[in-house]
Subunit: 189 residues, 2 copies
């Protein structure tokens, strides 16, 4: 998290602490197409998106299946790999040129030791992300592909403009032809 992005509603950190923490979390630029993590690698870093879009995907029987898009002010992390330092089951890639703040486990632990309030801030931010992930899973389980497309239109309309259609199709779990049909049907309403 860049220091300007640090929000701390619960007041566990002073302004000086927040600035000091912000200076200790490096911000890096990545070109479109950069693969941040490969299947089988251990995630050593977690990211916070300042600009751009990170895609999470699996390769199943030789085909890419997208499971998440992370954009501005969202955390992008392969958490089960990062938390347990075990091999990742998926890939993470920059779909656009990205500006990310990059946190390693070591840096995170050091910051928490030095600034105990940082853990409270991470906890809050993770709570929001976790809640969003629960909601997404629920939408996936309870809705049809067309309803999921409409849900994206309602909740993340900018994503539909930014993401190539073939990524969007695998994310919705349909063939690109079906996605075209869904779009046409909804446009004609």
């Amino acid at each position: 998290m860049e220091h300007t992005e640090l929000s701390d509603g619960d007041g566990f950190l002073t302004e000086e602490d927040k600035e000091a923490i912000g200076r200790r979390i490096p911000v890096k630029e990545y070109a479109k197409g950069t693969v941040l993590l490969r299947e089988g690698e251990v995630a050593r870093e977690s990211y916070f998106v300042l600009k751009g879009c990170v895609r999470c995907y699996y390769i199943i029987d030789g085909e890419e299946r997208t499971t998440a898009f992370y954009t501005e002010n969202e955390s992008a992390a392969a958490l089960s790999s990062y938390a347990r330092q075990s091999p990742s089951t998926h890939f993470m890639q920059c779909v656009e040129d990205c500006t990310l703040s990059v946190l390693t486990h070591e840096n995170e632990q050091a910051l928490i030791k030095e600034f105990p309030g940082f853990a409270a801030l991470c906890r809050s931010s993770m709570e929001v992300g976790f809640g969003r992930s629960q909601d997404e899973l629920a939408v996936y389980i309870t809705r049809s592909p067309e309803e999921r497309y409409q849900h994206l239109q309602d909740t993340r309309p900018e994503l539909l403009q930014r993401i190539p259609q073939y990524h969007l199709a695998t994310y919705l779990g349909v063939k690109p032809e079906s996605l075209s049909r869904i779009r046409k049907r909804l446009a004609n309403r």
Copy 2:
């Protein structure tokens, strides 16, 4: 979390702190069938399952659609409602008699103020749960109902014994008849 359940790999809390925290988080018993949270209510509590099973479900067009089962040593919380104190979009119900430790927002904030290391512990535990939720979403997006059933068999075999078939069917996104067919097919292999 009951004090015996507190694990703190990162060493941010002393043993005395952990015991003191454990004593401050009430443990409650709930009868099978108890609804912990209803659609439209704000989640005031988050739970940690010491014994039993909590089910999360939506009602869509009059039908229940299950999106999660939480069992021993898992957190069970409607996080997007709990984190933002906004109305919940789903229900939470005890599928078995349950023993849960119950944390309110106020208690959580008070404990973090008093024991800054508690936030680090919550952060770690949330990281693991969040990672699991990401994995589940990925399984849902990338696998067929039959493959999802097999995945449950591999990763949570006890769940298949504990959960009524009609809940399991809505969780897998199939009709009960299809679930019977899947089970027969797999049994005949």
